[in-house]
């Protein structure tokens, strides 16, 4: 019984660590993806504004 409870506790903590760290890495990965798209969007915006400036000139 005691060893069962101890192994169950270890399993619960291990599962908590795995899921929590998965969430943490998910946040990190999500950040990287979103920053990539934000940078690409900014680049496109600056390119299109500079080309429209060129046409106006």
């Amino acid at each position: 019984m005691t060893s069962n409870i101890i192994s169950q506790t270890l399993f619960i903590y291990a599962l908590t660590i795995v899921i929590s760290m998965a969430v943490a890495y998910m946040i990190k990965g999500l950040n990287a993806v979103i920053f990539h798209f934000e940078d690409a969007h900014k680049r496109r915006m600056s390119e299109s504004s500079s080309s429209s400036n060129g046409k106006a000139a």
């Binding site: 005691t2 908590t16 760290m21 943490a24």
Partner: protein, 395 residues
């Protein structure tokens, strides 16, 4: 004819009235959380004074409740009658015993959470939060060794997460028969963390380290935009609800609050962070106070819960500080170890406490962003453990 009560019960009721007055006074002084302690203290005084001379409720011997509500009634017919008699019964039956009030508090908390630092440094914040779950994990086998059932032991272990709504929700799922004393004990102790945690920090961390200012980071983390934060909220909520359907109400309540804030829906933020949060907290305090009747708390089953609850909170604080030390050593002694204490997810009390303790020694020590990061991750890890306990043990 109403019979005379046992003298032990009368003494217990007088002691609880005195305790209520002490809680009210300490809340007024700011030593304990005033938002909870003032209605709770007054509720304790009123309920124990109101039934001081009664062995049974004035409503009759079959009615075990109090003048204000009956927490033990299960029959739907009798509940319908009670809801028309006891003035707090509707609030208890329709919001407390089904976990709604816990979810409302969570929505309010979500709407004031700042997830900026969590998104900038998720790994660091999560490591601290995992260390600060030491009590939530270790008290489970200790509770079983004390002779509690697995569900009861897990419910009392959840007190280590220092998250009142989570304890209420978890104990409703895992230990419905003793969820009243567990929740009362959890909230009593959560008030005490305000006064007790600084002493643990003083015992474990030298003054020089407690007041250490965090040097500027070599590589400054890029701040996520509100759109990015909203995307995180949506994905995290979906993933956690998928993994733990039993704890989905809590996850949804928390993340809807965060989503409303990140989407900048000002009327909703004002609603959740004002009337919903404060209204729920006030009625939560009042109902907990009214539940602190001598007969409930003098039950022999309460003593191990009292011991295990305080043990869970102490172990979580110690674990959080150990996590703080881990980051202190791995960061080349640039990290203030007291931040680890904020991994205990009593949002935002422990984060504010950590900042206050550091600023007392060194007014230039600004550690609140890191503390809030650990605090928010603490909520997530406690919800995960709550979900695991309910999934594994709720049979």
């Amino acid at each position: 004819m109403v019979s005379e009560p046992d003298s032990k019960i009368v003494i217990g009721r007088i002691c609880l009235m005195i305790l209520g007055a002490v809680l009210l006074f300490l809340g007024r002084k700011g030593v304990l959380e005033p938002l909870l302690m003032i209605p709770m203290g007054l509720g304790m005084i009123a309920v124990n004074a109101g039934i001081l001379h009664f062995a049974e409720s004035p409503l009759g011997p079959a009615h075990n409740g109090t003048l204000f509500l009956d927490s033990l009634e299960q029959s739907n017919d009798k509940l319908m009658t009670l809801m028309q008699v006891d003035w707090l019964q509707p609030i208890y039956t329709l919001t407390f015993s089904n976990g709604l009030i816990a979810c409302l508090v969570f929505m309010g908390i979500g709407s004031i959470l700042d997830i900026t630092y969590v998104m900038a440094r998720p790994i660091q914040s999560m490591v601290l939060a995992l260390f600060a779950e030491l009590g939530t994990i270790l008290v489970y086998p200790i509770g079983v060794a004390f002779g509690l059932s697995q569900g009861h032991a897990a419910s009392v272990a959840l007190i280590g997460g220092a998250d009142g709504p989570m304890v209420l929700f978890g104990s409703l799922m895992l230990a419905k028969d003793i969820f009243v004393p567990i929740t009362v004990i959890a909230y009593l102790y959560l008030g005490l963390t305000y006064g007790g945690y600084p002493w643990i920090a003083k015992a474990m961390i030298p003054r020089r380290l407690r007041g250490m200012a965090m040097p500027p980071e070599k590589v400054k983390p890029r701040q996520a935009s509100p759109a990015a934060r909203l995307a995180f909220v949506v994905i995290a909520c979906a993933v956690l609800c998928l993994l733990f359907p039993v704890a989905a109400p809590l996850f949804l309540a928390l993340f809807v609050g965060v989503a409303v804030k990140e989407a900048d829906l000002k009327p909703f933020v004002d609603l959740l962070s004002g009337p919903v949060l404060y209204g729920s907290t006030m009625f939560l305090g009042l109902i907990l106070g009214v539940l602190c009747e001598a007969k409930v708390l003098l039950d022999p089953v309460v003593l191990p819960l009292l011991l295990l609850g305080i043990l869970a909170l102490i172990l979580s604080c110690v674990g959080g500080i150990l996590g703080g030390y881990l980051l202190y050593f791995t960061s080349g002694r640039r990290y203030n170890p007291i931040i680890g204490m904020a991994g205990v997810s009593c949002v935002p009390t422990t984060a504010k406490l950590v900042q206050k303790e550091a600023a007392k020694i060194n007014p230039r020590a600004i550690i609140l962003p890191q503390a809030l990061g650990a605090n928010v991750c603490g909520v997530i890890t406690t919800a995960i453990i709550c979900g695991i306990y309910i999934t594994l043990l709720n049979k």
